[in-house]
């Protein structure tokens, strides 16, 4: 059982005190432009998930604590949490550079801008 740290209130607890929220940084196409979402885009948004061995970006909620959602970067092999960060934030630059799959595409222009990271 994992030990999770809440990025918002700082609470530390077993994963059963938290709620796992699946893959992070999935853009909801209908929020961007509800009028032009293709069937394929909607399918990918609903069902297609990246399942890497290694670095994984994900969402957690501090279920028995402050109730806030936050982001975490975790290694799926060692189970080590590499970082936690705000639900509206991007991961540390080094982790964005190490990202794979859709995350790598998503982070690419953020890295180019060099802004939040």
């Amino acid at each position: 059982m994992l030990i999770v740290h809440c990025h918002v209130c700082g609470a530390e607890g077993d994963e059963t005190d938290f709620h796992y929220g699946g893959q992070a940084h999935i853009a909801r196409p209908a929020t961007r432009d509800p009028a032009s979402v293709s069937d394929a885009e909607q399918r990918d948004y609903l069902f297609m998930r990246h399942n890497p061995k290694g670095l994984h970006f994900e969402r957690w909620r501090c279920d028995r604590g402050c109730g806030k959602w936050f982001h975490a970067a975790r290694d799926t092999v060692t189970m080590e949490f590499k970082a936690t960060y705000g639900i509206s934030e991007l991961p540390p630059r080094a982790l964005m550079e190490a990202a794979t799959g859709e995350w790598a595409i998503f982070f690419k222009d953020k890295l180019a801008k060099g802004s939040e990271a």
Binding site: D14, T31, A35
Partner: protein
């Protein structure tokens, strides 16, 4: 034989010969001594057979010394306190202990299932997969019951467990698993540096194998050294030392589960109310694994006969309990350690016929000691087979032959008379816990075994568990690990000085060929508990199971409750020889938790009976109880189902309650209904995103029914939401959905529409809420003294009022889930019971009656109203249930909207909600009954839909049902067939609204 044939005249470090203990084994009265294990005491009584094997029902005796025991599994205790599958080598003897052998019928000595052994050539590995395949119908009625009966290991206890169990949570800096020499040293180093230490061991005392080893530490015998270290740790304030405690599993982030057997050795503790077992959930910053090593058997023909055991087990029996495994023994080894067993037996007055060593001309201290003690040593030989005594209940001798690695059948052999064999094929580090959580192993060619490699958690292995068999090195490694675990900055502890004899390397032996025909009556057992032989593994290999993981599943080797503790390496060795590969090339299968089985009681802990699940009660709960209401669980709530009166059955009560609502007035406790306040300048826009229909247009003081979908376009909740102010809404959810929906709203606010200024506050328990429903509802309300207009015009359907009913502050909603004139009244929870009583008093003259949840459901079904979870199952859209009108066409976006446009949710042939009227009005269809396209003699039949709600309606005096039927709305008037057990019920498709289609009754 009379007396105690195998109890030696003296010796036995752990037993107290002054304290006799009486017990029974298979109903036979036996005596032992205080300090005995069940295995030692039964053996001392001359009984060598402990059980029958799993598949072939072969008689089996004790093989191991402790938790590695795979044969001597016994049931202990009687009735509700019976516990099956305990290892007799771990069961501590106490007065009055009742133990039984397992997997035999009718008795241990004569067993019908042993016939399997005679036909074993017809039941090779993978037999089940090959044989029990056809005909299909045989599986359920013939094969499965037969296999289950034959394959049982022990019996479940009868009745409710009378004992208590506990869960404990603990945190520590260092958890040391195993309290042998290495574990004690590591714990000492960690505690000296001030760390909080937990050290546990599965046996009743610390010290591990120190008492069975030779050599000294700091000039003291090893046993004295461990005793002083154990005392030191027991006194240290920063150490929690636990005996009889097995680390059963290691999980992520150093979460370790410890299973403590608190009372099993002493029933007097149980009688005092002490919990029988404790399950410890430990979080350790560092874990030190000092779990030692287990001896491996050798695969020779019929190596499973009672009397053949591990050399370490034989040594333990002699030295700890003063019990000899037999009258005359042979030691069969490939290493130096087993020589200690021969010497121990000799010292204790036992007879050793010979030591058979596969090695050629080994000259080591152990060999010299044995020779000097006058024990015959036969080098370069191996046991080729055994001479079984009658029925295989023991052995009369062994056949030995010259050993040459890789040879085929043996031709020349000689015979040695003996009745027991102490065998040693080398030692395997106990790496189970290392592997539970993904630790890697590395093959050690000196050990011919796997030892810990890398691990991503903060865990270290020390001593024999790490493959370090040399005592001085093990100690150095253990102290260093203890110091490293706490990053001790002070000067390291001085290392004790060790004197031991140097051991010579072992020679691997994975398979010793038999004389005679290869597999006729000759079984070379690898996995004793699952009856897997070397030939089974080779057969799997020939049949193409190349991966060791496949071989494991096909033959079930390593899959029994002992998780391959003694069998794993031997199996890999056999596979390696069969394929001409090395063991590392074969790979290794995964060790899984638990290390040893542990009780369901410990898993449940105190979370049983009333503590299993918290129960939520409304403010009216005691009133419901006083009326002797039937209750039903709704989520964690207990809701009143119906209120039967004296002499009334449940059905009569429900019908009476329904008719009271239809003809007079009824009162329902609806306090469990989910209530969530949604407040903020963006609340209306947010609700437009959440619901399928529009809420921004809702006027203050008005109510609207809303539907919620998930992003897949499927219905997840519904309810009435009220606009209390421009920026303030009160959402009602289903009783079971309140928590889920509150979390759902938070998720969208926090993660998607973060710009919205909205607060979400669950207030379900803040309010008591009741429905007053029926033609007389307004008159009842009027009598309660409202300080606001309740006339039909002043307070129309779907309106809301805030004010007072007499003394009670209320919010009143004119909404209806029954189709009658209906008000839902909400008052702060602490006023709940007072208002409830006041309503009943005011309604008495109008014949008011409380109604329960079943009446509520029938009333809503008569009106064709859906219930989330009845008419929906997570795959149903608003269109499927005919609520197209509630799906906004104006809103650009709401949750699920885009998915609802996907072609497959619009396709023809989806199931649609309809009503059903059975041909026989008295026939009530069962819930979930399937409609079929055409009725056939027997299944399979093509199913076209299912009943979702079904009731007897007293209002209509006939049965009604709702169903989801393929293209249902275009089949109005069609008659469908519902095949049930023994009959076919026919029902006509109708509109799902059965009563008051115009809705005139609620608009009065």
């Amino acid at each position: 034989m009379t007396g105690k044939p195998y109890r030696l005249p003296q010796g036995g470090r752990l037993i107290d010969r002054a304290r006799k203990v009486s017990f029974t084994f298979d109903g036979q009265n036996m005596t032992g001594y205080h300090g005995d294990t069940l295995a030692a005491a039964v053996l001392a009584n001359g009984q060598r057979v402990f059980g029958r094997s799993f598949k072939y029902h072969r008689p089996r005796g004790v093989v191991g010394l402790g938790s590695e025991e795979m044969n001597a599994l016994v049931g202990v205790g009687e009735g509700s306190r019976h516990e099956p599958n305990l290892r007799a080598t771990q069961v501590e003897l106490h007065d009055g202990l009742v133990a039984v052998s397992q997997n035999r019928w009718p008795s241990l000595k004569l067993d019908i299932g042993a016939l399997n052994s005679k036909i074993s050539r017809f039941i090779p590995g993978g037999f089940y997969y090959k044989t029990f395949m056809w005909p299909q119908a045989f599986w359920k009625h013939v094969y499965e019951p037969m296999i289950r009966r034959a394959a049982g290991l022990g019996k479940a206890p009868e009745g409710r467990d009378p004992d208590t169990y506990e869960h404990m949570h603990a945190h520590c800096d260092v958890l040391v698993i195993g309290a042998g020499i290495a574990g004690l040293a590591a714990a000492e180093a960690a505690q000296a540096a001030g760390a909080r230490v937990i050290i546990c061991d599965e046996s009743p005392r610390f010290g591990g194998m120190a008492d069975l080893s030779q050599g000294t530490i700091d000039g003291e015998p090893q046993l004295d050294w461990v005793a002083s270290r154990a005392a030191l740790l027991a006194d240290a304030e920063n150490v929690h030392a636990m005996t009889r405690t097995t680390a059963v599993g290691h999980w992520h982030h150093n979460h370790v589960m410890l299973f403590e057997r608190v009372c099993d050795h002493d029933p007097a503790l149980l009688a005092k109310g002490t919990p029988r077992h404790r399950l410890w959930k430990v979080r350790a910053k560092e874990v030190i694994l000092a779990t030692g090593a287990l001896e491996r058997p050798i695969a020779f023909a019929n190596n499973d006969r009672p009397g053949i055991m591990l050399a370490s087990a034989a040594r333990g029996l002699v030295e700890r309990y003063g019990v000899s495994p037999g009258m005359k023994g042979v030691v069969f080894t490939n290493n130096d350690d087993a020589y200690l067993t021969a010497l121990a037996l000799k010292r204790a007055g036992g007879t050793i016929a010979a030591i058979i060593d596969v090695r050629q001309g080994t000259d080591s201290a152990a060999v010299r000691d044995a020779r000097n003690a006058g024990i015959e040593i036969i080098p370069g030989h191996a046991i080729a087979g055994v001479e079984s005594s009658y029925g295989g209940l023991g052995i009369n001798g062994v056949k030995i032959a010259p050993w040459r690695k890789g040879q085929g059948r043996v031709v020349n052999e000689s015979r040695i008379v003996c009745d027991f064999v102490a065998m040693s094929g080398g030692f395997n580090p106990v790496v189970n816990l290392w592997c539970h959580n993904g630790g890697k192993l590395t093959f050690d060619s000196a050990l011919q075994s796997y030892r810990p490699g890398t691990h991503h958690d903060r865990i270290q292995a020390v001593g024999a568990a790490n493959g370090t068999m040399d005592l001085a090195q093990a100690l150095a490694e253990a102290y260093a690990a203890g110091e490293m675990a706490v990053k001790a900055t002070s000067s390291p502890m001085s290392r004790p000085k060790v004197e031991t004899a140097q051991q010579k390397p072992l020679e691997p032996i994975w398979f010793s060929p038999a004389t005679g025909k290869y597999n006729e009556g000759n079984k070379h057992f690898i996995d004793f508990q699952n009856d897997v032989t070397a030939a089974d593994l080779e057969l799997a290999q020939r049949e193409g199971y190349e991966s060791v993981e496949h071989t494991k599943r096909y033959t079930t080797f390593g899959m029994a409750t002992d998780q391959g503790k003694t069998s794993n390496l031997n199996g890999l060795g056999v596979l390696a020889e069969a394929t001409g590969k090395t063991i590392p090339e074969i790979g290794i299968t995964t060790f899984r938790p638990p290390y040893t089985p542990f009780s369901f009681g410990a898993i449940a802990g105190t979370l049983t009976k009333k503590l299993f699940l918290p129960i939520r009660r409304t403010p009216i709960f005691r009133w419901h109880q006083a009326q002797s209401a039937h209750f039903e669980p709704v989520g964690q709530w207990r809701r009143a189902y119906t209120y039967p009166r004296a002499g009334e059955d449940k059905h009569a009560a429900i019908n009476r309650e329904i008719l009271a609502v239809r003809h007079k007035v009824g009162l329902l406790d609806a306090s469990t209904l989910g209530k969530i306040e949604i407040k903020g300048p963006d609340a209306a826009e947010f609700l437009d995103r959440i619901y399928t229909n529009m809420f921004s247009t809702l006027k203050v003081g008005r109510c609207r029914y809303g539907l919620m979908m998930n992003e897949l376009g499927f219905l997840t909740d519904d309810g009435v939401t009220v606009r209390l102010a421009d920026d303030h809404f009160l959402m009602h959810t289903t009783s079971g959905g309140a928590d889920r929906i509150a979390a759902w709203l938070e998720e969208w606010l926090q993660t998607e529409w973060t710009q919205y200024k909205v607060f979400v506050t669950p207030v379900t328990e803040q309010w008591a809420q009741f429905a007053i429903a029926g033609p007389k509802a307004r008159e009842v309300l009027s009598k309660l003294g409202p300080d606001f207009d309740i006339s039909a015009e002043g307070f129309p359907h779907m309106a809301m009022k805030e004010g007072k009913l007499g003394a009670y502050p209320v919010r009143l909603y004119r909404i209806s889930f029954s189709g009658e004139l209906s008000y839902e009244v909400a008052t702060p929870a602490h006023f709940g019971r007072g208002l409830w009583d006041a309503i009943l008093a005011a309604g008495a003259e109008f014949g008011i009656e409380a109604y329960g949840t079943e009446a509520l459901h029938v009333l809503r079904a008569e009106k064709g109203y859906i219930v989330i979870g009845d008419e929906t199952d997570g795959t149903v859209t608003p269109f499927d249930v005919g609520l197209d009108g509630l799906v906004s066409k104006k809103k650009a976006d709401f949750i699920g909207k885009r998915s609802l446009e996907q072609s497959f949710l619009r396709s023809a042939g989806r199931k649609q909600l309809v009503g059903l009227l059975t041909e026989d009005p008295k026939e009530v269809l069962p819930d979930g009954a399937y409609a079929v396209r055409s009725v056939k003699d027997k299944p399979p039949m093509e199913m076209i839909g299912q009943v979702t709600s079904t009731y007897y309606s007293p209002t209509l005096d006939r049965s009604i049902a709702m169903a989801l039927i393929e293209n249902g709305r275009s089949r109005m008037g069609e008659t469908l067939s519902f095949p049930l057990e023994g009959k076919v019920v026919k029902a006509k498709i109708t509109d799902p609204v059965f009563y008051d289609k115009e809705g005139s009754r609620q608009n009065v």
